[in-house]
Symmetry: D2
C-alpha cells in the first residue's frame, strides 16, 4: 500500500482581493502568483517535497515527511511577506486522489475560498514518520518535442499540442488510477501515482496517442521522498532517451547513471 | 486593421541544461522558471505590455510600444542574473497569430532551440510608434467557479474542469479568429484578439458550453497598450458580474467605474 | 552646473508594522526588505537609473530621466505585491545633497514616517527632459581587498576594515562636496558626485588612508544617465587596476575598453 | 559555556565575475546580491537560523541545528538557479568570533576567494545535536530615531548618524566580547553574543553615546535557536520602549507579552 501526504495550498479570498478596490494590474498579479509559487517550491523542495502550481491560487503539494510545525512556519512566512495569506489542508491516502480529497475537505469545512473571515486554516492529518512509505513519481515528456513542434510551428501551436497531450493524460490517470498529473513546463508532465505496472503506463501512453496523436514516453522512480522518487524518474526518462524506449523504471538499466 | 507586436521569449538550450551534467532538482527548476517569468512580467508590465508563461521555457509577450533597446536591456539583465540566457523574436501582424508566426520564425531561422551555439537571438520587426493602434483584450472567467467547483470538489477535479474549458476555448479562438488565449490562474483566461463582435464572443462561449459543459463570461477592452486594454476588459467583466450578462464591452455601461 | 534628480523611497509606517501585532520573524523582514530593494533596483535600473539600499526602509535613487508617471507605476506595483506601501519624494539640485534635501522635505511635509495615515506620498520636482545634464559617478574600491583582508582575516574583521573606510569616505564626501557615497557590497563604494577634479578625488583617498589606514582607488565616469556614467566609472576603475594608479577618469586612457 | 555554530557563505570568485567579460550593469549586480541573500535568509530562517548580509559577497549565518546535508542542499539549490556558486565554511566556538575564525579558515584553506578553481567548498565542524546550548541575541535600536533623524534630516544625514553608531558598536562588541553585530536596516542592530551581564550591555551603550553621541537601547533574548533567542530579544526591546529603559532581558518583566 502506498501512502501519500498531500497538502492543498489555497490563497485566502484571492478572487475578491484581485478586484478590490478595483481591478489590479494583471502583470502584478502574475508576478505575485508566480513568486508565491516559487517561494513555496523552495520551502517544500528544500525539505525534499514537491509542489505544483495548478491554478496558482490553489496549489497541490506532496509533503511526505513535512510536519505540522513546518507547515505553520510556511504560513507565517507568507503572511509576513505578501499582501495575501494562505490556508493549508493536509490529507493522507492510499492514492493521491484520496489524499487530496481529504486535504480539500479540511479547507472546505472551514468555510468558502471567498469567505473573508476564513483565513490561515491549518488543518488535516499528517503521516506519522514510521508510516512513510515509497512514493511513486512518473516523469513524462513528449518524444522529440523540439524537432516536431518547437522548431517547426509557431510557439502557440506547439503549446496547443502539448496542452492536448496534458489534458488527455491528466483525465486518464485521474480516472483510471487516482493519480495526479501536473504540467511542469516545456514538454514535461510529472504524475504522482500509486504503484502501477509497466503495462499500465504503456496503456496511458497508448491512450494519449490514440486520443490526441501526441507521443509520450515515461520514466518512473520510487523513493522515500518526492525528490528522491522524482530524481530517479528523471534518470529513468534519460534511459528512455538513450534506448528509444517508452516506459522505464529506475534502476532497471545497467547503464543508468548512479545519482 | 489591428496591429499587434508580439515577442516570443525562448530560454536558450534549456532542455539539455536541465539534465546536464545530470538531472537537476525539480523544485529548483520550478523556482527558476517561475521567477524568470515574474521578472519578465515586471519588466514588460512596467512598460504596459503583457506576457504569458505558456510553457515557461517559451513565453509569449504583447509588446506594443516596447522598442528594440528595451528588449536588449531585458536580455542583458537576464544574462546577468540567471544561469540561462534568452532569445527574443519579434513580429507584427494583423492578428496575434500572424504576429507570433513572424516572431517565431525569426528565432527558428537562427537555429534550433537546442542548438548550444544559438544564444541571445534578438531579431524581428518592431511596430513604428506612429502605427500603434488599438489592442483588443478579452478577459474570460468561469461563472461561479468558487461555488460550483472550488468549494465543492477536490482541487484537482476543479482544476480538470477549468483546464477543459481552457483547452476548448484556446483551440476555438485560435482557429476561428487567430486569437491567442492564455490561462492566467484561478478561473481566468486572457485572450489577445483581433476586433470581434459581441456575437462572435457569444459564439465562443456557446462553443465551450456545448463542448465541455463549462459556462464562461467575458469582458472586452480596447486600448493603446495591453495594460490599458486589459484593465478596461477587467472592468467590463465586473459589469458582467454586476448585471448577470455574458459578454460586455468596456465603456458600454453607464455604471462602469472610471479607471 | 550639474543637475541631479534624486528620489527618496520610504516604506510607510514600517517600524510599527514590524512589531504589530507582535514582533515578526527577523529573517522574513530581511527577505522582505532585500526583495523590495531588488525589485526597485530592477525597475529603476531598467530605466538606466541607480538606487541604493542605505537603511532598506529608506532608499535613495538617482532618477534622472524617470518621470512622474513611472514613479506612480512603481508605487502601484509595490502596493499590489507587498504587505507594505512606499512614499516617494523627488528633488532636483546642483549637488546630490541639495537634491536629497528637497526630496526628503517633500515626504516630511506630508507627515511623519510613522504616521499611519500618511501613505503613498508622491511629491516633488522632476527634472525637465531638456535640462538633463551630465551625471558624475565615482566608483571606489579597496586596493587588493582579497589579498589583504578576505583571504587573511576572519570575515567579520575584513568587514570591519571595509566599514571603516566607508564611514570615513561617506562623511568626507558629504561634508566637502555634497556628494553621496553608498556601500554596494564587496569592497565597492559608489558615490554620486558634483563635478570634481582629480586632485579632489586624490584628497579624499588620502583622507581615508590617514583616517583609517585603508587604501582606496577610484574610477570616475560621466553620462546622461546614472547607468551610463556608472559603467564608464567601472571601466576607469579597471584602468586603475591595469596601471596601478589611484584616480582615473573614463576616456582618458588609450587602452580603455570601448563599451 | 555558550557554543555557537557559524557559517561563512562566500560567493566563489565573485569579484572577477562582475567585470568579465566587461563590467556588468550595477543594478543587476545589486539585484543578484540582494536576492541571493533573501533566498539564503528564507532557507536558513525557515530552519530557525539567522543570516546577515555583511558585504553581500560574504555573508555570516548562525546555523545551530542546521546540519551538513542541509548546507549541501542550499549549495546545490543556489548552483541550480544563479549564475554563481557559493562556498560554505562552518565553525563552532565558545564565542561567535572564535566560531567565525574557524569557519573562515576552512574556506581560506581551500584557496583564495578569487581562485577560479576553488568552487563550492563545504567544510567545517558541525555542532552535535546534544551539544546545542543557549544562544544569546541582543537587539539594539536607536532611541526615537524617527523623531530625531528620519523626520528631521535629509535621509543621507540620518543614515550617517545610524552608520556612526553601528561602526562604533561593532568594533566595541567585537573587541570587548567577541560578539558580532550586524546592521539589519532601519535603526536596528542585531548582535550575536556570548553570555553578558546587564552592566556589560550598559557599558556598550555608554561607549557609543560618548563615542558618537547616539543613544541606543537593547533587548536581550536567549534560546535554543537564533530565531527563538531573537524573538525573545525583540520582546525585551519592546519592554525598553514601554518602560523607557535601556537594557532589558527577555522574561524579566511581568507585563512582557507571552510569545
Amino acid at each position: 500500500m502506498t501512502t501519500t501526504q498531500l497538502t492543498l495550498i489555497q490563497i485566502d479570498n484571492y478572487g475578491p482581493w484581485t478586484v478590490t478596490p478595483e481591478p489590479r494590474r494583471e502583470m502584478d498579479l502574475q508576478t505575485l502568483q508566480s513568486r508565491l509559487f516559487a517561494d513555496i517550491a523552495q520551502f517544500i523542495g528544500g525539505r525534499n517535497g514537491y509542489v505544483f502550481y495548478t491554478r496558482f491560487d490553489n496549489m497541490v503539494a506532496v509533503t511526505n515527511g513535512i510536519d505540522r510545525e513546518e507547515h505553520r512556519i510556511l504560513q507565517e512566512s507568507i503572511r509576513n511577506r505578501y499582501p495575501v495569506t494562505i490556508s493549508l489542508g493536509v490529507g493522507v491516502g492510499a492514492t493521491p486522489a484520496v489524499a487530496l480529497d481529504e486535504a480539500t475537505e479540511h479547507i472546505q469545512a472551514a468555510g468558502s475560498a471567498q469567505d473573508k473571515d476564513r483565513t490561515e486554516v491549518l488543518s488535516g492529518t499528517f503521516l506519522p514518520e514510521e508510516d512513510v512509505q515509497e512514493i511513486h513519481i512518473a516523469h513524462f515528456d513528449v518524444n522529440d518535442a523540439t524537432g516536431r513542434y518547437t522548431d517547426q510551428m509557431n510557439e502557440y501551436d506547439s503549446f496547443i499540442h502539448i496542452e492536448r497531450s496534458y489534458a488527455s493524460l491528466m483525465e486518464y490517470m485521474r480516472t483510471e488510477h487516482g493519480a495526479l498529473s501536473f504540467f511542469v513546463g516545456g514538454d514535461n508532465i510529472i504524475a504522482v501515482c500509486p504503484s502501477l505496472t509497466s503495462t499500465e503506463y504503456q496503456a496511458a501512453i497508448d491512450h494519449v496517442r490514440s486520443d490526441v496523436n501526441v507521443e509520450l514516453k515515461v520514466g518512473i522512480g520510487n523513493g522515500k521522498s518526492p525528490h528522491e522518487a522524482g530524481i530517479a524518474a528523471k534518470h529513468a526518462l534519460e534511459d528512455c532517451r538513450f534506448d528509444g524506449t517508452t516506459v522505464e523504471f529506475a534502476g532497471s538499466k545497467a547503464h543508468a547513471s548512479g545519482d
